[in-house]
């Protein structure tokens, strides 16, 4: 009989309830329970290790988490440089812009009569409402802003820097776009055409021929060049979608030009989708290894949970324990203000992949 002891090394430690536990305490007591609770506690340790490692940390976010109340969590992560590069759906940035501009989202019900909402021109995102007229006004504001830019293609990274800058100047409000602008953290939005940001850009084009051009292929090159410049990378993904694949694709594309790359060294995803139907959103991190998106020996963890539960607990704990890690971490510096992104003081190549000298 095989030695069973090799499988039975670490006993489960049941969670012990006590008054006045901190977020950090709660996560610490979840480390040796099971299922997704354990995975969330592991995510906490993996993120801490990312911060200690010198890796460039990509954060991706899909879903409607910005409208759903996590936009200032992400802004905090960007401002304090828990992460170095943000990849988002258009909607998350648009809902952030909405609140930076002083509008609000509202507590609603998932079982409201949608015909009545339509009559009242209220847009619903599950249990959250927004005023459709304010959304239309945002689109015009974005179009207006976009017509002030040069008539040339902008990578989404450059466009979003300019947008953050404009928002900060106009409103001085915290948010993802303004935090990224102020911290000089690049944001990519590969599916910008599938969002109200894209709709605003299309209205700019309608109003002023030649405006509203985005260069999403340029984004691919730039994101891979970030990896080539600093081949140690980490991936944090909330909710799958285009950000998840775009971050992984950057690593694969980079390796094509530089064999030091070898996939993300750390990977953490908080997803609600499942792998069984073959879609990328729910795919496992093991599957990502077959593609070389993630290093075979990466530290990795998947948490199957709604980010609106997992992130408040996780980031509250990180905020309590990572002060020193944030202060001393070897993170990249960016200048995201120009047509060409500057990393650690040196511009990336223009419209080309960086090749090893």
């Amino acid at each position: 009989m095989p030695n069973k002891q090799r499988f039975l090394k670490t006993p489960i430690e049941p969670f012990r309830v006590e008054p006045n536990l901190s977020a950090e305490d709660v996560l610490a007591r979840m480390e040796r329970i099971s299922f997704q609770g354990r995975n969330l506690a592991t995510a906490y340790r993996v993120w801490q290790k990312m911060l200690e490692s010198g890796a460039t940390i990509f954060l991706g976010m899909a879903g409607a988490l910005s409208a759903g109340g996590l936009r200032l969590v992400v802004a905090h992560l960007i401002e304090h440089r828990y992460v170095d590069c943000f990849v988002s759906t258009g909607a998350n940035l648009y809902h952030d812009l909405h609140e930076i501009r002083g509008r609000r989202h509202f507590v609603g019900s998932p079982v409201e009569n949608d015909g009545a909402l339509q009559d009242a021109r209220i847009d619903r995102v599950y249990d959250t409402y927004a005023d459709e007229e304010e959304f239309c006004e945002n689109d015009e504001w974005i179009a207006q802003f976009a017509t002030t830019l040069e008539c040339r293609p902008y990578t989404t990274r450059e466009f979003l820097y300019r947008l953050g800058e404009h928002l900060w100047r106009e409103y001085q409000q915290d948010g993802i776009l303004t935090a990224a602008y102020r911290a000089n953290v690049p944001i990519f939005c590969p599916a910008i055409a599938d969002s109200s940001l894209g709709m605003g850009l299309s209205q700019a084009r309608h109003e002023r021929p030649g405006s509203g051009q985005v260069d999403v292929i340029g984004d691919i090159i730039e994101s891979a060049n970030i990896v080539i410049r600093r081949p140690q990378t980490a991936s944090i993904v909330l909710g799958g979608g285009t950000p998840k694949n775009f971050i992984n694709q950057a690593s694969v594309q980079a390796e094509f030009f530089d064999d030091r790359v070898g996939g993300h060294r750390f990977a953490l995803q908080i997803v609600t989708d499942v792998p069984q139907y073959g879609g990328a959103s729910g795919s496992t991190l093991d599957e990502a290894k077959s593609w070389g998106k993630i290093a075979t020996d990466a530290e990795q963890v998947t948490v199957h949970a709604d980010a609106t539960i997992a992130m408040p607990l996780l980031v509250s704990a990180l905020a309590s324990s990572c002060d020193e890690r944030l202060r001393t971490r070897q993170r990249p510096t960016f200048d995201a203000s120009g047509r060409v992104l500057v990393v650690d003081g040196r511009p990336l190549p223009d419209a080309r992949y960086e090749e090893r000298s």
Copy 2:
């Protein structure tokens, strides 16, 4: 145009990160975000109201949460009387017994080679392992204990009281069964035949004819009589399964004999299953209203989350804020030691539904 203001009353308040937040702080900051995070914060408020209301609180638990590290959370809830009556699958009680008897579950991997585990006689529950030989030894221990009981049918409530008593005398260890014994909180296990507890009872019968008899129909009567005696009730369910329906069925059955009943006044469920396939585990609390399981005006909330994430946060916060509520709450008292359950000092009818005088 309809007045849109009636839909846009309460703005979303994005979660603000800060160091050193307590579990309670974290939940408080989740109250006005969206999706399941908001629902978890609502669950916190609903549970507090349950404690203030004088309702008899039923807790149901399915899944493998006991092996998975939540058994001492449940023991805490029972000991401190956050809940009054516990309904469980057999497995959750069996895994509790396993640890009360000094055995352990172990941290494992969800992608282990199961053939190798089988060779080593390790049983896997997703990412958690147990020693199969220890499980077999438990079964014999249960059979041995069951042969010491009288040769008559026992409701699971009476059987589990005796089991808890025996475990406490032998081992003096905290756990669900020992906490319920010591706090005189009744436990029902309607699907005991579908568990290793039932297997142990079947081995008792094999060894000693006439032993190992359970009266699960008696459990139905007794659980409904608890509701008839005190028609104000609340339901908390972790994970669906037979406990969810059994708790609801008690209310429906009780109403059949006493029209004061009218469904649970409060309902809180933390589930991972979804309604779309028609099963009871994932069914909504609204659907339960059509059956009269839950009062039409009940305060209710469903949290779509793994209980191993939701419960540590939720119960930690309750432990910080409910001291006074627990001290002053009007809860039922039980004597669960006899063939007939005694509620608030008066025995329930024997093998009959209690009818209004």
Copy 3:
């Protein structure tokens, strides 16, 4: 470099659309696509092999599939002996009884106002309605029937045989219970206490002391003895729940007394639940191997799908191709009419596990 050809043997064959395909054609063309479509095609082949193998085939069904329109599919499977032994939740048998008695379920909406349904005394199961008053009348009918039985514990298998017999005599209608009675196929209902069947039995007890006794521990022994008698077994499970575990437990319990058993030789499950939260309903068949529930070398397949989609297609195809297989298969014969179940002409031991001579 490792030889990649060992991984790249069988090309995907894209599904080719054509008019007038039969159910069997459709499944045949799904054999070499991917994801759950491929799994459903594999399920078709695995079931065919079960029929050729001489294995005793257990079918388990949870969820509300009987109300949901699959009761005559199951009746067909029982009548034509695609399966040999049926394990069910109480609800599925109760909803079958409801229709055998001439009542109906109704097409409804999953987003109806449940308060209005409650006022009208309509019970909702997702998108399906039933008349609550008819349900109450069923309960009384069951209670009435149960009071005509002897005042002794009945295994659910014996009770359900008697119930099927009574239904057949009274109504002569097709259904699960009547098909099982006529085909002498045993039905087990381990969680009968968690259903309206159990509620009916409890009302029998209320009306006539000593009636309404079920011996669910006896069911454990009997189900394991079926496996001991014919150690080659197969498991088909729709929807998880107590039937899934009860069928697996029979195998484990049997092996305890007879080492020829060794787990089910074939396993097929159609589930909507997922493994990530540790519950048995969603657990993988690989996990079941670690427990010895399923043979390490079993032919197995999990289909992640709603059975209301998967079963019509799957069983229609089986009905077209399995005539000869059904005619020649070596299936067990039962006499389920007595206190002791008779298998292949020989009674099982009374209240004892069968031990190898």
Copy 4:
């Protein structure tokens, strides 16, 4: 008491098994069962009505359904004009190109050792494999092709037409891209930057400055102009993702310029994601009504199922019953070959929204 009869009109008709049923028969017998089976039968009727209605039918596809064996189903739908306009993720088009070029995907296992796959340079998509070296060679082929195009931005619609044309000329193989080219059906790929198609374009840029430009904002304008030109539209979505929102956004954007639009008249989605976490992929069609994406009185149905099960059955049945409907339907004609799309013989405006005259 309210009249219960208004809720109890249409009885459930249990599915009756019979040999030799066709796909169409199976769906017909599923019309009055419950849950997702009923929804799939409803989807069949809704699609038939779309074909009869004169609506322009958009089909969106996310997930990995092309690699997973559904690419020739989609090609069939395009060729025979069950649909008029296709919106896809980049991956689905890339995997289609892979097979048009004579490469294959392969039957694999979802539990393979991914390290071993990585060593062998095999890429895994759940249970399906592909040769990574062939993928790299595709990327170069795409890059090579893209460098032959003019150095100006192409909408994805124009680029994909050219790509389909080139593939057809080189390989004469059936597929999505070649079918769309031959049928002059426009394809949009709003998130092309998040795919290997985008990676190929980025390599074109690397090789030849000024190449590899896509104008995804132009796609927004063009897709909305298709709706403005023919305001009656229908939406069919497989799997959520960017195609789902892009098709809905076209309707919303169109309505901004033409108040005849009013949302899709028909909507059918086959999804595996759920609404509870707020993401657009799993969002309900009711939610879409609040936004005006779908008409308040639209005929709509959501099927919660893996498309690899639902589509073979659904499209086989359509192929058997829709010959006449396809022949007589009033569908739009396109010329997708130029920089400006031509609809029903009239070019759409260049870089502007069409405004009502």
